[in-house]
Amino acid sequence: MKLVAKRPKALAEKPMHYCPGCTHGITHRLIAEVIDEMDIQEKTIGIAPVGCAVFAYDYFNIDMQQAAHGRAPAVATGIKRVLPENFVFTYQGDGDLASIGTAEIVHAAMRGEKFTVVFINNAIYGMTGGQMAPTTMVGQKTATSPYGREAAHAGYPMRVVEMLATLPGAAYLARVGLFNNREIKKAKKALRRSFEIQEKGLGFSLVEFLSTCPTNWGMAPLDALKWVEEEMVPYYPLGVIRDIEEEGGPKK
């Protein structure tokens, strides 16, 4: 009997604390699979954010640092500048990256920092109990938008990938979904591509994962996946927004 699929080596054995059906676990596994397939477990350093994934350093069998809220791209910059031959990735939620850490992510992309960002967009703050995030949908009810997010009051959801695409230093930007097996396969392909871009030193790479938060959305896991597909995807289009190699290499 040949093994087809099993928990990747780079994913720690420790059970994850995420809520049942939360897609954090899928994304963690995809990262670990890419690390295993590229055989870089001994060369990769991850940075955990503040948020539900703050414990990510317990879930990967690699060196990791835990960063202050929003500052992972700055921490990653420090690491990559000291260790240019190593692989560095940050794992950040939408509160971490698109709210308190906006300056850090924009400037890391502007500088073309050669690390990869795994950006989890679940349209809410998870760990702290479901508050509105910059990526919360208009009309979406949260702990701090109990009547539904109102654009006139709290503006429109932030499309991070498109925003960063204005910066030439961003070499690879993609947005992926996890709401069915086909999308999960595409998500892994994009993640693998972002690590290859990093390997070739072509610049900054980020993959945005449209993710679920069953608990704070008040939905069953399957319904949450459907909500991503039906509500989030129209506003957050999936696909590779930029691949520098398809544009003839980095800008001079």
Binding site: I45, A68, R71, A74, V75, G78, L83, A103, E104
Partner: protein, 354 residues
């Protein structure tokens, strides 16, 4: 004897870091320390080092966090408002036990304040401006040469205790030009290996740089471990200088450039027959309590002089434990006290004034 060079404080401090193997600097523009990052941006590439201007002091201190965690000998500098922005990062550095050197070329505050020299960041520096029970050693030079020497030592103290170390200058130290020599020359390869660093788990268990301890007992355990370091610092790292305190009736206490002004005042006082001694703390943490405690047993009073409205004076009072009156005299906002002002006050106090 290494040759002496006339250098501006900010630049000399930068060169001092490079001479002891610092190869990573993350900074941000703010007067009066701008020459420091500018110098690093010229010099670091010459030694295969990395200079980076961050998008903010908040980003800069977190770059320091990453670089230190990756095992680099790393430095940053700023001035008062920028140092305030770095406080959360410094608390994380202490909590994650990461060595680095942070230079504060202090300016007048609060708020945007001014750009002239001041010492009104004493509390922030010595009590920890961030959250939690932590301290950082604070070294306060009074000359460009001492700024060089203390910066060099700061890296060793940081590595010895795996803790951020603060070099507290002021606008004068940063902007003055004085002759300096660089008495040490260390290259990164001569530095001991940092086994705890996150440089890729090759052939070892993964290293984790982290200050999160959700379980209270575990967090208390971490804190008690940090306290052991701070106690050790109090035993081994106290530095101060004294001048004529053996037979002194009056003791002046001042640090940094203010101590040079106090020296002029003391000389003038001795010329008119006043027995005046000086105690100059060089480490503000750990604070030189014992020498002040001893001096307070004999002195008629202690006069503390600062470029602030009274911060170190509280530590002097704690050290004196009420054995003698401890008076305060200070100018702030960037105003530098004059020797004459101090002499007049000294005479007034000696004559029974309060």
């Amino acid at each position: 004897m290494t040759e002496k060079i006339l250098m501006k404080g900010n630049e000399a401090i930068a060169e001092a870091g490079i001479r002891v193997g610092c190869r990573y600097f993350f900074g941000y523009p703010i007067t009066p320390q701008n020459e420091l990052p500018a110098y690093m941006s010229r010099r670091l590439p010459e030694v295969q080092g990395t200079f980076l201007q961050a998008e903010s002091e908040v980003a800069a201190i977190n770059m320091v966090y990453g670089a230190a965690g990756a095992g680099g000998r790393v430095m940053t500098s700023s001035s008062s408002p920028g140092i305030s922005l770095k406080q959360e990062g410094i608390s994380y550095l202490a909590g994650s036990e990461l060595p680095c050197v942070i230079v504060n070329i202090t300016r007048g505050g609060p708020g945007l304040g001014g750009i002239q020299p001041a010492q009104s960041d004493y509390f922030q520096a010595t009590r920890g401006g961030g959250h939690g029970d932590y301290y950082t050693p604070v070294l306060a030079p009074q000359s460009v040469q001492e700024a060089v020497d203390l910066t060099m030592d700061a890296f060793d103290i940081a590595d010895k205790y795996r803790n951020p170390v603060l070099v507290l200058g002021d606008g004068m130290i940063g902007q003055m030009m004085e002759p300096v020599e660089f008495k040490k020359e260390i290259t990164p390869d001569q530095l001991p290996e940092k086994k705890w660093a996150t440089n890729g788990a090759a052939g070892r268990k993964p290293n984790i740089i982290n200050s999160l301890r959700l379980q209270p007992e575990k967090l208390e355990e971490l804190n008690l471990k940090l306290q052991e370091k701070y106690m050790a610092m109090k035993k081994a790292e106290v530095r101060y200088e004294t001048d004529n305190i053996e037979d002194a009736e009056y003791i002046l206490v001042a640090f940094g450039t203010t101590a040079r002004i106090v020296k002029s005042a003391a000389d003038m006082a001795r010329e008119v027959g006043m027995k005046v001694g000086i105690i100059r703390p060089i480490t503000l943490f750990p604070f030189p309590e014992d020498v002040i405690a001893k001096a307070s047993e004999k002195a008629r009073f202690i006069l503390t002089v600062e470029m602030s409205l009274g911060q170190m004076v509280e530590d002097v009072r704690l050290s004196a434990k009420g054995r003698c009156p401890v008076y305060f005299q200070g100018r702030t906002g960037g105003v530098v006290p004059k020797p004459g002002e101090i002499l007049d006050n000294l005479k007034r106090l000696a004559g029974g004034g309060k």
